[in-house]
């Protein structure tokens, strides 16, 4: 659900931007950042706005599409139905069945923003229902850890996309106005524009925006916030529920957190952001593996 939420945000913001002359370039960027370019070319060939949207919305052959994410969420909910609340199950089930009826015409450019909004709203309804109904046991902690890890991962990807786009803008003859609208768009895509304005009433620049999305401690979609939440919950698993086997995962998370705390934002803005995001995403994957090995006895993977 978290992935669907983030992807809907990314599509919406890209669609808004691609109305200017950069057009298809922006769509290619999404593919690059998600590492889907090769897969996409195999399936569709040339990168066009229409096909990328299709690829990320209704294409069930793409494991990262909205349709696939919702189908996975529903399948997971179905197999865990005895652990989650009836309300949670029913909402995901209804969302899934509505999604199955989505046709090509529903994702045309003029309808896409509305479509993405609906997805976001459903995902947020899911979060609200979960908050209000899910019993606070180990299952809840695992749920929340997974959500936070996914959100941190997606925030890093959104930032990465935004940055690459900014670089392209910088090389063209853009003006200050466009650059400004670019960073505004990026903040809006993570749902953080207003929060950002409250902390930075004046400046809207690469450095501050990057710092905000990566390390702000109070913004619920920043990487730092998400990792801190995950850290708290893994600690709870160990301390309150006696899941000692979660220690290796906790250590992995602490490495990622300390890198984040010590990151030189100016340095990242100047050159290393993509690499930093990549490393972070890799650390999150390792963390998830350690947690699965420790708590669910899944085989060790190298």
């Amino acid at each position: 659900m978290e992935r669907a939420d983030s992807l809907a945000r990314l599509l919406e913001v890209t669609e808004t931007h691609s109305r200017d002359e950069h057009g298809d370039q922006d769509w290619k960027l999404i593919l690059e950042v998600n590492g889907d370019l090769d897969h996409f070319r195999q399936e569709y060939g040339k990168v066009t706005a229409v096909d990328v949207v299709k690829f990320y919305t209704i294409d069930l052959n793409n494991a990262t599409s909205l349709a696939s994410s919702v189908a996975y969420a529903r399948e997971n909910a179905r197999s865990l139905r005895h652990l989650i609340s009836t309300e949670m199950w029913s909402q995901i089930n209804v969302m899934h069945s509505r999604f199955r009826d989505v046709k090509n015409k529903d994702i045309q450019p003029r309808r896409l923003a509305g479509f993405c909004s609906t997805i976001k709203e459903s995902c947020q309804a899911h979060t609200g229902i979960t908050e209000a109904t899910l019993y606070r046991d180990q299952a809840y902690l695992f749920y929340w850890i997974g959500k936070m890890v996914e959100r941190a991962d997606q925030a890093s990807r959104l930032l990465d996309v935004g940055f690459r786009r900014a670089l392209k803008l910088a090389h063209s003859d853009d003006n200050a106005g466009e650059s400004l609208s670019h960073w505004t768009g990026l903040l809006r895509s993570v749902g953080g524009y207003q929060a950002y304005r409250r902390t930075h009433p004046i400046r809207l620049r690469a450095r501050e925006v990057t710092g905000f999305v990566l390390t702000n401690k109070s913004f619920p979609r920043s990487v730092m916030y998400c990792l801190q939440e995950a850290h708290d919950d893994v600690s709870k698993l160990i301390n309150e529920h006696g899941v000692e086997t979660a220690h290796p995962a906790l250590q992995e998370l602490e490495v990622a957190l300390s890198q984040l705390q010590n990151a030189d934002i100016q340095q990242l803005v100047n050159s290393d952001l993509h690499e930093f995001a990549d490393t972070l995403q890799q650390q999150l994957i390792t963390f998830t593996q350690r947690l699965a090995e420790g708590c669910f006895g899944l085989d060790k993977q190298d």
């Binding site: 179905r78 197999s79 139905r81 005895h82 029913s90 089930n93 180990q138 529920h241």
Partner: protein
């Protein structure tokens, strides 16, 4: 008789017993409560009723009260079609069902205990030896195995039909893993939400405590010394099983973990569940997988669903299985024919619920009678479930009759024959209005140290006009079943 002017005015029950109006000649005395319900139904408007039925159907999809059918490319969710007009059972009628089912379950359990120990009933020649010992569901490994409370069949579903004279008859026993109870409870919840006006002030016995009753019964027969707060789990074949919804439902209603074979392990004769905090001992397993798949060490070697060493733990008395292994021999269609004699043998009582007279084609006289009267009989294969392979003589074509005659010649032991029972009907909402459709009833009996029968049961309805086959695979649906308090 009640004067029907509205919705039910065009309803014709024909020559059958009607679950709402009674005997075909109109001579039934309707209780005050039933009359209230009939009047309320009669006042409903067809268009509004259809709208509400549609809303109910949507709700079934939304709540995911569905079974999943997997094809090569996709998974399709289906609902069991639900008819909104309830089936009513009077308190007096349910009393017969209740006592009859309890009696039958007691006899089945005594029979299973006997055939896996002293085999007195075989020695006394009441049931032919080869019918039991040569039965493919007879489990030789269970001979001499002691189980708590001598309860073999903890959950039993007995399919009952009603003849034109209003008498109940048992069609078959389900002593392995009878399914469908989730629909009983969910149908009631659905009715409470969509037809509160129909139920208002009518005393209908509740069905919602099934999970609690089942848990209590299973706790009663936990291994010795573990009865106080035992760990009960529900063992499912997994999410791809078409009845997965029911497994989830039961685990939730019982408040027990839902596990798959890979979540359990057996060590030194004890079964454990793997948890994030380590291994936890398991005392009772309500298993929804067949005998063959329970333990690859003891039964089918290729089973991926079971737990290695489970049977060993079971034999040592360290874990209770519900139902026990080897109960399939008791619900065999051939053994069914002997059930009145089995009841008499163990309980020294006459059967409260009669069988449908059954001709065993494996016996020469049974075969001859069936061959001579095939056009008047229902001929069923003994090993099939789900209504497959059932031939209804009076409705069959000449070619179908000839084909079955040949099959009877080739493999007589595979068939039994019964007279056509004029299954009772129930008013049912069809596209053109309210029409009679044939129904049966599967009450569920739960047995720990004693037996409790869920008031009501699953009413299945044959939605195709005139059809006598109520199975969901053959166009059947279900109805909410109201057992009246008085």
């Amino acid at each position: 008789m009640i004067d029907l002017k509205g919705l039910l005015s065009t309803y014709e029950q024909g020559a059958y017993f009607c679950e709402l109006l009674g005997l075909p000649d109109g001579s039934s005395v309707t209780s005050k409560t039933a009359a209230t319900i009939i009047k309320r139904l009669d006042k409903l408007n067809l268009k509004a009723l259809k709208k509400r039925a549609l809303a109910a159907e949507h709700e079934l999809y939304n709540l995911g009260i569905t079974f999943t059918v997997y094809t090569d490319s996709q998974a399709i969710d289906r609902i069991l079609p639900f008819d909104v007009l309830p089936r009513i059972i009077s308190a007096a009628d349910f009393d017969i069902i209740d006592r009859g089912v309890q009696q039958r379950v007691a006899a089945i359990n005594a029979f299973l205990k006997d055939i896996y120990h002293d085999q007195k009933i075989l020695k006394d020649g009441v049931v032919p030896k080869e019918l039991v010992l040569g039965n493919e569901n007879y489990c030789k490994k269970m001979e001499g195995v002691e189980i708590p409370g001598d309860t073999y069949v903890h959950i039993c579903g007995i399919d009952i039909v009603r003849d034109t004279d209003g008498s109940f008859k048992v069609l078959e026993d389900n002593a392995r893993t009878p399914s469908g109870v989730s629909y009983v409870v969910e149908n009631r919840h659905l009715m409470l939400r969509t037809f509160p006006d129909l139920l208002k002030g009518v005393g209908v016995r509740r069905v919602s405590d099934y999970g609690l009753r089942l848990y209590q019964a299973l706790a009663e027969v936990a291994p010795a010394g573990r009865e106080e707060d035992p760990v009960v789990v529900l063992l499912s074949p997994g999410v791809f099983n078409s009845a997965y919804f029911e497994h989830v439902f039961l685990a939730r209603e019982m408040g027990v973990p839902l596990v798959e074979g890979s979540d359990l392990t057996a060590e030194d004769g004890v079964v454990y569940m793997k948890t994030t905090g380590g291994l936890q001992r398991v005392d009772v397993i309500y298993r929804r997988i067949g005998d063959d798949f329970l333990d690859p060490q003891a039964f089918r070697k290729d089973s991926m669903l079971g737990v290695s060493g489970l049977f060993d733990a079971y034999c040592r008395g360290n874990v209770t299985l519900a139902n026990a292994i080897g109960t399939g021999v008791a619900d065999d269609k051939a053994i069914y024919a002997y059930m009145p004699r089995i009841i008499k043998y163990y309980l020294d009582e006459e059967a409260i619920l009669q069988n449908v007279p059954t001709h065993i084609c494996g016996e020469p006289e049974g075969l001859k009678y069936t061959m001579d009267n095939i056009d008047k009989l229902v001929v069923k294969p003994v090993g099939e479930a789900g209504g497959y392979g059932v031939l209804v003589g009076p409705r069959a074509t000449k070619a179908e009759l000839d084909e079955r005659r040949q099959e009877l010649k080739d493999d007589p032991a595979n068939y039994i024959a019964q007279p056509v029972v004029g299954l009772s009907v129930c008013p049912t909402l069809m596209s053109d209005g309210i029409e009679p459709r044939h129904v049966d009833l599967r009450p569920f009996a739960v047995t720990g140290k004693s037996t409790w029968v869920l008031p009501g049961g699953l009413t299945r309805v044959a939605l195709n006009k005139g059809s006598l086959i109520v199975n969901s695979s053959q166009g059947g649906g279900s109805k909410d079943t109201w057992v009246l308090e008085k």
